[in-house]
Subunit: 154 residues, 2 copies
């Protein structure tokens, strides 16, 4: 059932992977609940501070702190906008780096939907064909490896 | 660029999604760095307490607490084992619920590999064909929807 380890990964003994592990690096930077919920809102089209705070249900202080972190980490971009007769404000737009996190967010959601069921959980579908959308592991040859067919090499 | 919202999701206004959101439910239960690193080790075949603590580089107290949480959440199972002449100890085995988190973990790793590059980052490949393995969004008809082709319906 476990994944196969090859190369240095197989000889690691009990030493911690530390910064070699990209999961660890990602979690250190963006692995908080509030970060994930703000990214969910960004994917849903939210751009303005007040809407982010309200839709994730966080205080303005926490929202401001987390949005600053997401801008610093390059997942969102802060852009000025101005409505007639109003002062200049800022909105938050997705970057490519932010969009690239989408599979991780939906994979967490897929796990939550299956293992922590709750009434009213939204569905994710493909608009062209209406079929449900899932997150899956595929190799570039198009196969879907079982866990024991995966190899980690370092 | 944003995802399409349909049904109640489109009419949500500024009310928080709360427990309707499976990403939120998942992050509340398992969304910490130490949890993800312990699950990484479980996928790599680690079963024993000392090896978990050493390989994730955490204190015994934190490791014990997090393993207890993962057992309570059903991602790992605690099983007795006994070596000749030793007292009974316990090891931690992956459950189906734990295995199901694998795409989320590798999706975070995929993001970290691309956006936070670091020497010595391990590669994930398919042993049968040697091709790199990626996490991707696919509908059950086999299409790979672009973000703007995704629909969230609640």
């Amino acid at each position: 059932m476990p994944i196969q380890l090859a190369g240095k990964a197989a000889e690691r003994g009990n030493s911690p992977a530390g910064d070699h592990c990209p999961v660890d690096r990602a979690m250190q930077l963006i692995g908080s609940r509030s970060t994930m919920l703000l990214m969910r809102e960004a994917y849903y089209g939210t751009t303005r501070f007040d809407a982010f705070a309200a839709r994730v249900g966080m205080t303005e202080a926490v929202t401001a702190k987390r949005l600053r972190e997401l801008v610093a980490a390059g997942l969102l971009e802060r852009r000025p906008y101005q409505e007639p007769g109003q002062r200049t404000r800022h909105e938050y737009a997705l970057t490519e780096r932010g969009l690239d996190l989408m599979p991780a967010l939906f994979a967490l959601g897929q796990w939550g939907r299956k293992h922590l069921p709750h009434d009213g959980t939204p569905m994710l579908t493909h608009d062209a064909c209406g079929a449900p959308v899932r997150v899956e592991l595929r190799c570039t040859e198009g196969h879907r490896p079982r866990p024991e067919e995966l190899v980690i090499t370092s």
